[in-house]
């Protein structure tokens, strides 16, 4: 399998906090990689470093063999990396359709084509009846779908999702999981940050576990599940709260 994303010794400190401390991992084409870790482990920071929203102190990021270190977010997006945000960023004063059209315009097509493409993505995330709703009128779960559809409309080769199942009605989680699998079947490589252990174990081909900015393990789900440090840092707590 060809390596799509290569993260090499990435480090970033905020003041005294080492938010990312020498993180390395690779994602191959077609993989779903789950990223786990307790609050403040540095998961979102890692996303921001890869997508250009934060400048790393040291280390490197390669996408399809080329360094994307220190590129602007919009350029990284045009190379084919899409993302969603943990703290959702829908265009609140615009309709769902308009939100996704803006994503579709990234591929350089005209407005009518972008509209068609946007509608397909909205249909894909199952919100076609809500297309004329303003983003501010949508529920959190629906906004997450909006962000997914919007990111998908840019036709990314790598899609990075920050807690898609977090903070949504538990009933909608299975639907979101299906969605991620469906995306992956279309050939999109996926990085997904997740707190829901059942979800992450179910969908990931590999899991990257972080704690206090450090990589604990990067391996197949079944190996991660058995790792003592992961259990200490994370699984124990989560299992205790979700079971």
């Amino acid at each position: 399998m060809t390596v799509v994303l290569e993260v090499e010794n990435l480090s970033k400190s905020f003041g005294g906090i080492k938010a990312n401390n020498n993180i390395s991992f690779r994602a191959s084409s077609g993989e779903i990689i789950g990223i786990i870790g307790p609050n403040g482990a540095g998961k979102s920071t890692l996303f921001d470093l890869i997508t250009g929203y934060t400048k790393p102190d040291s280390g490197g990021v390669k996408f399809n063999g080329k360094s994307i270190l220190n590129l602007r977010p919009d350029l990284i997006s045009s190379l084919g990396i899409g993302r969603t945000f943990q703290k959702l960023k829908p265009f609140l004063d615009q309709t769902l359709l308009e939100n996704v059209i803006i994503g579709a315009l990234a591929t350089g097509i005209n407005l009518n084509q972008a509209r068609d493409k946007a509608l397909e993505m909205i249909d894909f995330v199952d919100l076609i009846d809500k297309r004329h709703y303003f983003a501010k009128e949508l529920s959190t779960g629906q906004r997450k779908r909006l962000e997914l559809a919007r990111a998908m409309a840019t036709e990314p080769k790598l899609l990075m999702m920050d807690e898609v199942t977090g903070g949504v009605d538990q009933k909608t989680v299975p639907g979101l999981v299906e969605l991620i699998k469906k995306l992956n079947k279309l050939g999109v490589t996926i990085l997904t940050i997740e707190h829901n252990m059942r979800v992450i174990m179910d969908i990931s081909h590999k899991i990257l576990a972080l704690d206090q900015g450090k990589k604990i393990i990067f391996d197949k789900p079944k190996n991660v599940q058995l790792n003592e440090k992961v259990i200490d840092a994370y699984l124990g707590v989560v299992n205790a709260t979700t079971s």
Binding site: T51, Y53, R72, P73, D74, L75, S77, S78, G82, R83, F85, K89, P90, F91, L92, D93, Q94, T95, L97, E98, I101, I102, G103, L105, A106, N110, L111, N112, A114, R115, D116, L119, E120, D123, D126, I128, D129, R131, H132, R150, A151, T154
Partner: protein, 337 residues
């Protein structure tokens, strides 16, 4: 489900409301026939001011409403437009018609030049910076001998070629039509841009620059584009106003009050919408022109006091501007023109 998708694809990207189209057509026709009902000079002047301020408020709206930045120095593009066309006429005899376009060019260059360093500024800092730039332009023009410094430029009067020199001494009617045409052109262009790809990208930046950049939109570039579009429609108003009054000085062409008034008009009418600035103008400009008559001179700034009170009322009761009085059905973007 797929049925719904097919149905959705048949909808136009922008719905066109026949009623609003008819209303606009009717109004434009009225505007063209207005001079035939023998309006007084004051009435013509009032209409000219409405056309002019509607365009200037729209120019402000492009920055604030489409890309989300509050400019407090918008008058500079008005001043540059006015000074450029006047200077080239006074100095080289170049017709103001060409001067208007040279003015647009200069204004755009200035928009780029100040736009680039200001891109990093957001919110209050951007507003303060534009305010200071507005003041600096006035000060520079007050000291700049080539263009008459504080005493300004007097455009030499000409009676032989009114259309070529863009001076009309007998009647305000030609001015009326010229301002009307520029008003229509400006609004039509902005309407087209609003519905274009650029419009979508600018609104994305206004609502959330970070999300916009995650969708491949180069935020800095589009903010500059918005700045330039804004300057392009503002600048001709300065040129035309200079031809209308024929004496320009920095006090008047770079008056901070103009920056503030266009802001008030746009906010009052409703920002981020093509028609908001027009509605604001139709209410505020007659108000200020009539108070001027009533209180004499410059209106003793009574108009500004009234503006202030109105703006407070709007902020309290109609934060999204007077346009929000329109029925929601028409306003919803999918149905609104």
């Amino acid at each position: 489900m797929n049925n719904n998708l097919q149905k959705a694809k048949l909808e136009p990207v922008w719905h066109t409301n026949k009623f609003i189209f008819a209303l606009i057509f009717f109004l434009v026709t009225l505007f063209f026939f207005f001079p035939f009902i023998n309006p007084s000079n004051f009435q013509l002047h009032l209409m000219i001011m409405i056309f002019m301020y509607a365009v200037m408020a729209q120019s402000w709206n492009v920055i604030a409403g489409f890309s989300g930045q509050i400019s407090l120095g918008h008058v500079i593009f008005f001043g540059i437009g006015g000074y450029t066309s006047s200077f080239f006429y006074v100095e080289y005899g170049i017709t103001p018609w060409i001067g208007i376009f040279i003015g647009i060019l200069f204004s755009s260059l200035v928009a780029i030049a100040i736009g680039i360093p200001m891109l990093r500024l957001t919110g209050h800092y951007f507003a303060i910076a534009t305010l200071l730039i507005g003041f600096s332009f006035q000060i520079i023009f007050q000291r700049w001998d080539l263009i008459g410094a504080a005493s300004g430029l007097w455009i030499p009067l000409n009676w032989d070629n009114p259309w070529l020199t863009l001076q009309f001494h007998e009647s305000k009617i030609p001015y009326y039509y010229i301002f009307l045409i520029f008003f229509l052109l400006s609004y039509f262009s902005i309407w087209i841009i609003y519905r274009s790809k650029i419009g979508f990208k600018l609104r994305a930046i206004r609502d959330d620059p970070q999300a916009a950049s995650s969708l491949g939109i180069p935020v800095a570039k589009y903010k500059i584009i918005a700045f330039v579009i804004s300057a392009i429609i503002m600048s001709p108003m300065g040129s035309l106003f200079a031809q209308y009054i024929l004496v320009i000085e920095p006090e008047r062409m770079f008056d901070i009050e103009i920056s503030i008034i266009v802001l008030l008009i746009a906010v009052m009418g409703g920002v981020g919408n093509v028609w908001g600035p027009l509605i604001g103008t139709i209410i505020l400009i007659p108000l200020s022109e009539y108070t001027r008559i009533f209180f004499g001179g410059t209106g003793g700034s009574v108009d500004l006091i009234i503006y202030g009170i109105l703006i407070m009322l709007i902020c309290i009761f109609r934060p999204s501007g007077l346009i929000s009085f329109f029925p929601k059905k028409i306003l919803e973007r999918k149905k609104f023109l």
